[in-house]
C-alpha cells in the first residue's frame, strides 16, 4: 500500500518517529503465509505489559519484610480495593507468559527460525527467556509462603553445590546462608528491576526482527514485494483477532480458575522449621526440577538442568543445515516432536513425587532432549536429504 508523500513536519525534521513507525509498523513487509503460531510474539508483548502494569500496583502495596510480606499479600487479596484482581492478573500472567514463551520457542525450533541470518534474534530471545525465569523465581519468593521459601531453598541448595564459588557467592548475594530478611529484600529489588531490563531486551529482540524480517512456514524468505503483505492492515487485524482469543483464555484463568495453577501450600506462611510434605515447583519450572531430581548427584543435576537450556543457545552452531523448517527435513520431523514430548513429560514428572516410575520417565525424556540437540541435529545436518 503506497504511503502518500508529505512534506516533513517540525517533529519529523528533528526526530523522524512518525516515518519510522510508518515504515516498521504499517508498510513493514511481512511474508504472506504466516500461520497462527506467529501471533505468540504479540501475546508475549501484551502479557508483559499486563505484568508490568499490575506489578507496579502490587509493589505499591507489598512489604518486603519477612514478618510482613505474607500479611501484605493477604491484604492485597482481601482488603486493597481490586487487589484480588491485580494479584490474579499477575499470577495468571506468569502462566500465560511462560506458555507463550515455550510455544514461541517451539515454533522457532520447528520452522528453523534460529538459522542465518536470525541467530541474534534467537539468542536475544533465549536471553529474554532466562531473564523471565530469573524474574519469575524472584517473584515467587515474594509472597513468603511455604512453597516460596522451600522452592527457593531447593534452588539455593543446588547452587551451593557449585564447587568453590557456589556457597560464598550465593551468601554474598543473598546476605546469608539461608533465606532471610536481606534475601527477601534483595529478591524484591531484583524482581522489580528485571522487569524493566526485560523491556530493554525486548526492544533489542524486536529491533533484530525488523532488521532480518520474520521467518515463515516455508523457510524461504520472500524476495519480491509481490510475496509480501504490509503489516497493517493484514497482520494487525489478524493479531487483533488472535489477541481476543488469547485474552479470553487469560481472563478465564483470572476470573474463573484462580486456584488452577496455584499451590495451596503457598497460602501457609513460610516456616523454616517445617518442611512441606512434598515440595513442588510451579508448572513452568517443573521440567528443570525433574532434571535436577533425575540425577543422583546434586551438582550433576544442576549442570544438566543448565545444560538443557545451554543446548538451545548452541543450536545455531549444532544445526548447520541451511534448510529451515522441520517439515522439509524427514528425520528432524520425527526427532523434534519427540524432544517436545520429552519436555512435556519432564514437566509432568517434575510435578509428581519422585517415584521409581517418574524417575525413569525423567531420565529417558532428559536423555532424548540431549540426544536430539547434541547428536541428531549435528549428524542429520551433515547427511540428510531434504524434500
Amino acid at each position: 500500500m503506497p504511503i502518500p508523500e508529505k512534506t516533513p513536519g517540525w517533529l519529523e525534521r528533528r526526530l523522524p518517529v512518525m516515518s519510522v513507525l510508518r515504515r516498521e509498523y504499517i508498510a513493514f513487509p511481512m511474508p504472506r503465509n504466516l500461520n497462527a503460531l506467529w501471533s505468540f510474539g504479540a501475546f508475549l508483548i501484551v502479557t508483559m505489559a499486563a505484568m508490568i502494569a499490575s506489578g507496579l500496583f502490587l509493589a505499591i502495596n507489598y512489604t518486603p519484610d519477612i514478618t510482613q510480606a505474607f500479611a501484605s499479600v493477604e491484604a492485597i487479596d482481601r482488603q486493597i480495593p481490586s487487589g484480588w484482581f491485580l494479584r490474579s492478573l499477575h499470577m495468571g500472567g506468569v502462566t500465560m507468559l511462560f506458555a507463550c514463551l515455550y510455544i514461541h520457542i517451539a515454533r522457532s525450533l520447528w520452522y528453523g527460525s534460529y538459522k542465518a541470518p536470525r541467530e541474534l534474534l534467537w539468542l536475544t530471545g533465549l536471553g529474554l527467556m532466562l531473564m523471565v525465569m530469573v524474574t519469575a523465581f524472584a517473584g515467587y519468593v515474594l509472597p513468603w509462603g511455604q512453597m516460596s521459601y522451600w522452592g527457593a531453598t531447593v534452588v539455593l541448595n543446588a547452587v551451593h553445590t557449585i564447587p568453590l564459588i557456589g556457597k560464598p557467592v550465593s551468601e554474598l548475594l543473598l546476605g546469608g546462608e539461608t533465606l532471610g530478611n536481606t534475601a527477601l529484600h534483595r529478591l524484591f529489588v531484583l524482581h522489580f528491576t528485571m522487569a524493566f531490563a526485560i523491556l530493554a531486551v525486548i526492544a533489542l529482540h524486536v529491533a533484530a526482527l525488523h532488521v532480518v524480517k520474520p521467518n515463515n512456514p516455508s523457510g524461504i524468505d520472500p524476495v519480491s514485494p509481490k510475496q509480501t503483505l504490509p503489516f497493517h492492515p493484514y497482520y494487525t487485524s489478524r493479531d487483533g483477532f488472535a489477541l481476543c482469543l488469547f485474552l479470553m483464555v487469560y481472563a478465564g484463568l483470572v476470573f474463573f480458575l484462580p486456584d488452577l495453577l496455584t499451590l495451596a501450600d503457598n497460602y501457609v506462611q513460610a516456616n523454616p522449621l517445617v518442611t512441606p510434605r512434598d515440595i513442588r515447583p510451579e508448572w513452568y519450572f517443573a521440567p528443570f526440577y525433574a532434571i535436577l531430581r533425575a540425577v543422583p548427584s546434586r551438582l550433576g543435576g544442576l549442570l544438566l538442568a543448565v545444560g538443557s537450556l545451554a543446548v538451545l543457545f548452541a543450536l545455531p552452531s549444532l544445526d548447520r543445515s541451511p534448510t529451515r523448517p522441520a517439515t522439509r527435513r524427514p528425520l528432524v520431523r520425527l526427532s523434534l516432536p519427540l524432544a517436545f514430548v520429552s519436555f512435556i513429560l519432564l514437566g509432568i514428572a517434575g510435578m509428581h513425587p519422585p517415584t521409581e516410575t517418574w524417575l525413569i520417565v525423567s531420565r529417558v525424556a532428559m536423555a532424548w532432549w540431549f540426544i536430539h540437540f547434541l547428536v541428531v541435529m549435528p549428524l542429520v545436518s551433515e547427511r540428510e536429504i531434504t524434500s
Binding site: R32, A71, E74, A75, D77, R78, Q79, W84, F85, S88, L229, P233, Y234, S237, R238, G240, F241, L243, C244, L245, L247, M248, A251, G252, V254, F255, F256, P258, D259, A264, D265, Y267, V268
Partner: protein
C-alpha cells in the same frame, strides 16, 4: 431510547461495582454466626478484618458492635505492661489467645489453627472441614487416647485435638433454620470456603462481563480480518 440505554449501562456498571444486598440467608451467612458463637472461642482469622464480614451481609453497625466487643493488643503502658483496646472494623479477627504460648497452654500443647485460608490449605478443602465436624464418635473400647485427644474418624490417625464443637440447638439462626449439628457443619464449612477465597462472587460476576466483551470483540475482529484478507492484492 437513549435514556433507557444509559440506565441500562449505569445499572450494569453499578452491579459491577457493588455487591448485591443479601436478603435471604445463605449457608455462608449462617456459617458466620457459627464462627462468631462457636469457632471464635478458640480460633482466629489473622488476615481477615471485621470489616471484611460485610461480604456476608453483616451491616456496618453489626460489624462495629461485634468488633467493639473484642479486645486487641494496643502496645504497653508506662510500666511496660501490655494494654488492650476495643477492636474496630479495620482490625483483624485475631485469635482469642494473646499469644501462641497461651493458646497451647489452654489446649494441651496444641495451637488451634488460624482459619483465614484453612479451607484452601487443609487437604480435602471445605468438604474435609465438614467431615471432621461430623465425624466425632465415642472412643471405641481398646483404643487409648492421650488427654486432650478426641476420637474422630475423618482423620488418618482417628483422633484430633479439637473437642467436639457442635451440638444440636446450641445456637439460634435468625432466619429460622434449625441449628442441627449437620446444618451448622455445612454452613460453617461454606463460610470458611468463602473466607479462603475472598471476593469469589465478585470475581465470577466481573468475569462474565469480561468474557462477554472479549467474545463480542473476537467476533468483530474475526469479521474484520476476514474482510481485509479477502481484499489482499
Amino acid at each position: 431510547m437513549s435514556r433507557l440505554l444509559r440506565d441500562l449501562v449505569l445499572t450494569s456498571l453499578a452491579s459491577l461495582l457493588t455487591a448485591l444486598p443479601a436478603c435471604a440467608s445463605t449457608p455462608a451467612q449462617r456459617g458466620l454466626i457459627v464462627f462468631q458463637q462457636v469457632c471464635a472461642a478458640c480460633h482466629g482469622m489473622d488476615h481477615v478484618d471485621y470489616g471484611d464480614m460485610a461480604a456476608f451481609g453483616l451491616s456496618p453497625d453489626a460489624i462495629r458492635t461485634w468488633a467493639a466487643d473484642q479486645q486487641i493488643p494496643n502496645g504497653t503502658d508506662d510500666n511496660g505492661a501490655p494494654k488492650t483496646r476495643a477492636a474496630t472494623p479495620a482490625d483483624p479477627i485475631l485469635s482469642p489467645y494473646p499469644n501462641d504460648a497461651v493458646g497451647r497452654l489452654a489446649n494441651h500443647g496444641l495451637l488451634p489453627p488460624d482459619l483465614s485460608r484453612l479451607a484452601m490449605t487443609l487437604h480435602g478443602g471445605p468438604a474435609q472441614i465438614q467431615r471432621i465436624l461430623l465425624s466425632y464418635a465415642p472412643t471405641p473400647a481398646g483404643v487409648k487416647l492421650d488427654d486432650g485427644r478426641y476420637y474422630n474418624t475423618a482423620l488418618k490417625w482417628k483422633h484430633i485435638g479439637m473437642p467436639p464443637p457442635l451440638q444440636d440447638g446450641m445456637l439460634t439462626y435468625p432466619d429460622g433454620t434449625k441449628a442441627t449439628t449437620t446444618q451448622m457443619a455445612t454452613d460453617v464449612s461454606a463460610f470458611l470456603n468463602d473466607v479462603a477465597h475472598p471476593h469469589a462472587a465478585e470475581r465470577r460476576r466481573i468475569g462474565v462481563y469480561v468474557l462477554t466483551y472479549l467474545a463480542l470483540m473476537a467476533i468483530l475482529t474475526f469479521l474484520l480480518q476476514r474482510r481485509i484478507w479477502k481484499s489482499r492484492p
